[in-house]
């Protein structure tokens, strides 16, 4: 009886400590030996003609001539194995297809600080874009609120698994993100309403006011209410998020295009004692790659987007390799439901742009831009993001070098379970939305 009680109590206490807790449980899978494959490890190595054993949802062994006893064999001669791709900036689920008013759940543009909103509460698990990203090898992604606000709200890291609920997709134990935004977007959104912020200095005043308040809020909440202290600080969900950042429980993901604005954001982080995990849409990171390396801040970038607004005007195709070369953490992100399906191609273009100007970059290095570095920015690098013994078997088998435009992800494994198989329609998730729709699920 006591034992039964304990069993019931454990999950209850887990929920209490992690609200809206993940209910994702890795599915059981048979042991698998992928034989004679070329591996891009994500850690900068390229291994040719090796075997990789997946067991119990993990990468159990990597080497030549591994024992073939009791495991299913998958001959992968000529094929490439990479870590599952990770997109640190996505709006799948909160900005789904079809993109119509009733599905538009990205930007809570009702006040400049909406740190209280959580992207996961907007995610529609039946967004038909999820399986398309899976077919592109994406196993993990961070879903973020939009950039209309100074503080957009909390982001969530998801496993790209078909599930009935968002909780069923949540990456267990992954920290939440806080989406912040620099520059044109917040000042335009609120400036048009003749409300603060309407300038970049208004943006900065807005961040500083919020962090000042958060610091004060944390102090007040920490004080015991007794005879000396009779003020009860009302709970404030937005402040809870900011305090989460100050305590290191929530990672800052800062939309910021311009180099000079990133430098200001770095100073704000210093002033209030928090860390910026990554600058997103960082089209000008190459101008301050040395500073970013020194500060240990990742840059999440596009391969070649530019010019859609003035703060994106200085985008260059060598941004990603230049950041990498400076020793800073370089990430290719998508922010786009098409781009997320081809992050391998985005990385390939950035690699080619580097080679074109004589920079030495190879595939073993460039794969890190869409795997391990992304995992670092999300704080899940000990669990996934590279092909190393002991890590989760989040891996993609490509029919050829994934840096070719002709490459397809052949098989995608998440925690060892085969969630996508290009040659088996029964192993291709189909959302409820896509049932009996025009394309009959054949979008690939």
């Amino acid at each position: 009886m006591l034992r039964l009680l304990l069993l019931v109590l454990i999950p209850v206490s887990a929920i209490a400590s992690e609200p809206y807790a993940s209910t994702y449980v890795p599915l059981a899978s048979d042991d698998l030996l992928i034989v004679n494959v070329t591996v891009l490890t994500g850690t900068g190595e390229r291994l040719t003609g090796v075997d990789v054993r997946l067991s119990g949802g993990r990468i159990e062994a990597i080497g030549s001539g591994l024992s073939r006893e009791g495991v299913r064999l998958l001959d992968a001669a000529g094929q490439f194995l990479t870590p599952g791709i990770i997109d640190v900036h996505s709006h799948l689920g909160n900005g789904p297809s079809p993109s119509i008013a009733s599905t538009s759940d990205v930007n809570e543009m009702t006040e400049p600080n909406t740190a209280q909103v959580w992207a996961e509460h907007s995610v529609w698990p039946q967004d038909p874009q999820f399986p398309l990203a899976l077919a592109g090898g994406v196993t993990t992604m961070q879903i973020l609120p939009g950039s209309g606000n100074l503080f957009g709200g909390r982001g969530v890291t998801l496993k790209n698994v078909p599930a009935r609920t968002v909780q069923g997709m949540k990456f267990p134990g992954a920290k939440q993100g806080l989406k912040m935004a620099c520059g044109e977007n917040p000042k335009r959104v609120y400036g048009e309403r003749t409300q603060a912020p309407s300038t970049r200095m208004g943006n900065v005043a807005g961040y500083r006011a919020a962090w000042t308040k958060a610091r004060h809020y944390a102090e007040q909440r920490a004080k015991p209410v007794d005879k000396q202290n009779t003020t009860v600080t009302e709970p404030d969900l937005a402040m809870e998020t900011l305090v989460g950042v100050l305590n290191g429980e929530i990672l800052v993901h800062n939309h910021c295009y311009r180099a000079d604005e990133m430098a200001v954001m770095i100073d704000i982080a210093r002033e209030f004692g928090y860390r910026i995990s990554a600058f997103h849409h960082a089209v000008e990171s190459y101008k301050i790659a040395d500073l970013l390396a020194e500060e240990g801040i990742c840059s999440a970038m596009w391969a070649d987007w530019w010019g859609f607004k003035l703060e994106a005007f200085d985008g260059i195709p060598q941004n990603i390799p230049l950041v990498d070369q400076a020793g800073a953490c370089a990430i290719v992100h998508s922010d786009d439901a098409q781009g997320i399906q081809r992050l391998n191609q985005e990385a390939a273009k950035a690699m080619a742009a580097a080679r074109r100007v004589g920079m030495a970059v190879d595939e073993a290095q460039a794969i890190g831009w869409i795997t391990l570095n992304a995992a670092i920015a999300l704080g899940i690098e000990k669990r996934t993001g590279s092909i190393e013994v002991g890590k989760a078997a989040d891996v993609v088998l490509w029919d050829r070098n994934p840096f070719s435009v002709y490459a397809h992800a052949e098989k995608v494994f998440i925690d060892g379970y085969l969630y996508f198989d290009r040659s088996d329609p029964a192993r291709q998730p189909l959302t409820d939305f896509d049932l009996e729709q025009t394309a009959r699920g054949r979008r690939l």
Binding site: S97, W305, F308, L322, A352, T438, R443
Partner: protein
């Protein structure tokens, strides 16, 4: 009136001035795709002079005063052509004062003509030409009116207008439906009515308040009816595709579909009516209720049914992504040579660009020497020629790279 001889004359002058050192160019070796053949020619020499191709062949004698370019180990193709863009009409998409590609306030319909605001100094031209896109159709962006206006063609080396009024552009879908009251039927009825009225349009008798369009729009439609140019309609849903094909058939006008997300569903019908389709091969998202049938193999399925497929990047700042789109079409079933034709020969034919999009004697010398397979993403354009002149491989982006690729040193960045 499709060729503007004065502008072309000016281009030729520029060409003569900048190739001053050599009387011509000889490009030898490499895999040459002339686009007259499905196969590559190897060991061939192309002689170029006066902006055109003088000769192509093996063992050609190369005049002593020709620049000799060794293309061995490379791939040579015609310059790429983007079938739909706002190049020269947009500098910064989010900054309205730099955008001339569409109308939001004054409702000009088919009479809208983008050729008057093409900005040859746009920084977008050098960025994209050095990646091998040599010419582009410049067209109005789909607006509220189902007929958006006239498109033109620019060359990316000089940013100048080379062909005007190459096609009339429009679109049918949810957006235009909202404009006419909320039904796609009303959009099609408006189109049918407008073209019918244009047949007997007379400025002196026309009373705009009794019709959908103003006099200048009717004049444009009257001119369109008499011109040998296609109607290019952005349509995505299968039903409206069929309706628009029938409309063009009644008008006896050639039709080109743009977008055509669900075109694969009516591929045989399109083949039978000889309607080419401008496809974005990356688009498999059911992003609207006009486009639920989006699939990656649209281009391949259309080709298999016998439809001519043109490929578009659906971009302006990055028309350089044209070849990535073409490569993806190949990855999803379109034959490689068809994908290359979809960004060279086919757009030239569809938009009536004579002597462009192919490499043959007498054709304009627009060519690219690629480091490898031009549809692959790890290759690049090594040299780009437009109208016989090598394009400088320099843009605002190459300058920014030069300035910041090495952050060490004391020299202020403003002097670098």
């Amino acid at each position: 009136m499709r060729n503007i001889t004065r502008v072309r004359g000016a281009c030729l002058l520029v060409a003569l001035w900048s190739t001053s050192a050599w009387a011509g160019v000889a490009v030898s070796g490499g895999k040459l795709y002339t686009m007259e053949d499905a196969e590559a020619a190897e060991g061939v020499t192309i002689l170029i002079s006066g902006g055109v191709i003088e000769a192509i062949g093996v063992d050609l004698e190369i005049p002593f005063d020709y620049e000799r370019v060794d293309a061995r180990g490379k791939v040579v193709t015609p310059g790429l052509i983007e079938s739909y863009s706002q190049l020269g009409l947009v500098e910064i998409s989010g900054e309205a004062t730099t955008v001339d590609g569409n109308l939001s306030e004054y409702r000009l319909g088919p009479a809208f003509d983008v050729r008057f605001s093409i900005n040859a100094n746009s920084t977008l031209f050098p960025v994209n030409v050095m990646d091998g896109v040599t010419r582009a159709v410049v067209a109005p962006r789909a607006g509220n009116d189902p007929l958006a206006g006239w498109g033109a063609v620019v060359d990316l080396a000089t940013g100048s207008l080379t062909h005007s009024r190459v096609a009339l552009f429009g679109n049918v879908g949810a957006r235009t439906a909202a404009f006419v009251g909320g039904s796609r039927s009303a959009v099609l009825q408006r189109l049918i009515r407008a073209f019918r009225e244009a047949r007997r349009y007379s400025p002196s008798r026309y009373r705009p308040d009794e019709h959908d369009y103003r006099g200048q729009d009717m004049e444009a439609l009257r001119q369109f009816r008499g011109a040998d140019v296609p109607l290019v309609m952005e349509v995505h849903r299968a039903n409206e595709i069929v309706q628009v094909v029938n409309l063009a058939e009644d008008l006896d006008k050639s039709l080109v579909l743009r977008g055509g997300t669900e075109a694969w569903q009516v591929a045989d019908f399109l083949a039978q009516h000889e309607v080419p389709v401008i496809v974005d091969p990356l688009d498999n998202l059911p992003r609207s209720y006009d486009r639920l049938g989006a699939r990656l193999d649209n281009a391949a399925l259309l080709h298999r049914a016998g439809v001519r497929v043109l490929i578009s990047s659906q971009e302006t700042h990055n028309v350089r992504l044209l070849r990535q789109g073409a490569g993806n079409a190949v990855a999803n079933g379109l034959p490689w040579i068809e994908a290359l034709a979809g960004v060279t020969r086919y757009p030239a034919e569809v938009f009536g660009l004579d002597n462009i999009g192919i490499l043959t004697r007498g054709a304009r010398a627009d060519l690219v020497i690629w480091s490898g397979d031009p549809l692959e993403i790890t290759t690049w354009a090594e040299r780009v020629m437009v109208d016989g002149t090598w394009v400088p491989m320099r843009s605002r982006q190459t300058r920014l790279f030069e300035r910041y690729h090495d952050l060490s040193g004391d020299k202020p960045f403003g002097f670098r």
